[in-house]
Point group: C2
Chain length 205, copies 2
């Protein structure tokens, strides 16, 4: 086989992934699991991904007629397919380079990740939150959900790392909000992007 | 420990990573290995990362007074720290949304990944190539290096995937060009970004 046709490459890749899965997955969940494995070449994600309160249906309902998605990194913003965003009139917003956030970080003891999340929550017109990097951002979001009347439609919380990441995802998974998370340390921007693009693809079906 | 101070989180994270490494790494290589593990929470990268023809010194020399870095995804472009780019007058260029590339892809049998790589090579003022996604892009680059007088200063070739990715990295590793690659299927934009930002940090020391 010559490796020149991306459609052939993709088709063959998914055949290999499918053959190596250890268990059956419900429709929809199957698509997300395989997309994340495709993006990482890491079969551990089959065991790590966790879905709560029917996130796929919620995503479909929320996005059908436009929605705002908040992300914690510019990498996630860059990775979500423009084709889907234009088609469904969805906006992706990353507040990490926001002027207010930068200025506030200079005069407070607070990090940009936390301040960016606070601003995103306070703007009140944001529906879906995607966190792939900062446990502090996910802790902030979870604390708003627990302690105020703020309730996002869906949270994709997959921070990666050795300190706080796992704990922040456990907190999210205890909340009564639709969510997609990973168990343990693994996650990251690539995983977040694979999940969001897989959700859009499910909307296309 | 409260998970609010990102510097504390990072410090503790690297202590955990250091403690769990299986072998000694040369200075510089150690920094890249630990940064990639930090970005992925995947210790396999300790065994997978591969360095050829002194890539760290080459990066330092190339970037000291400005350079152009070509990347194959917008995610990589978004992930490389602006702080470093500004300080060293380095430009990051991604040709995937280039108008020529899009138009050519419509009228030819060729993919945007391949056409983007060709354009980047033909512009002749690009020094470092970073490929985190498309094996076809890395195959194209390797074929130019083998068959023409084109010789980039450094190639970071870490496409991820099940078909072609591993093979493209093997081809790169056989060439007499400074490179950083991974063995096997794993890699991706997150890994590419971790490597590039680690290289910039080494320049700071």
């Amino acid at each position: 086989m010559k490796y020149t046709d991306p459609f052939e490459i993709e088709k063959k890749s998914f055949l290999i992934i499918r053959k190596n899965l250890k268990k059956e997955h419900k429709p929809g969940y199957f698509d997300i699991v395989t997309r994340v494995i495709h993006a990482t070449a890491d079969f551990e994600f089959e065991e790590l991904l966790r879905f709560k309160n029917d996130p796929i249906s919620v995503f479909k309902e929320t996005v059908k007629n436009g929605a705002n998605i908040v992300v914690d990194t510019k990498m996630i913003k860059a990775g979500i397919s423009n084709k889907f965003l234009e088609k469904y009139n969805v906006k992706v917003k990353c507040y990490i380079d926001d002027e207010d956030v930068i200025n506030q970080a200079k005069i407070s003891n607070c990090t940009r990740s936390i301040l960016a999340m606070k601003k995103a929550i306070e703007e009140k017109n944001n529906d879906i939150f995607v966190i792939g990097n900062a446990p502090t951002a996910l802790f902030t979001l979870c604390s708003y959900i627990e302690n105020s009347s703020f309730l996002p439609k869906l949270v994709i919380g997959v921070p990666v790392g050795f300190v706080g990441a796992q704990e922040s995802k456990e907190v999210l998974n205890l909340l009564d909000v639709p969510s997609i998370t990973t168990k343990g340390r693994k996650g990251g921007s690539t995983v977040a992007v694979a999940i969001v693009n897989a959700l859009f693809r499910l909307l296309e079906e």
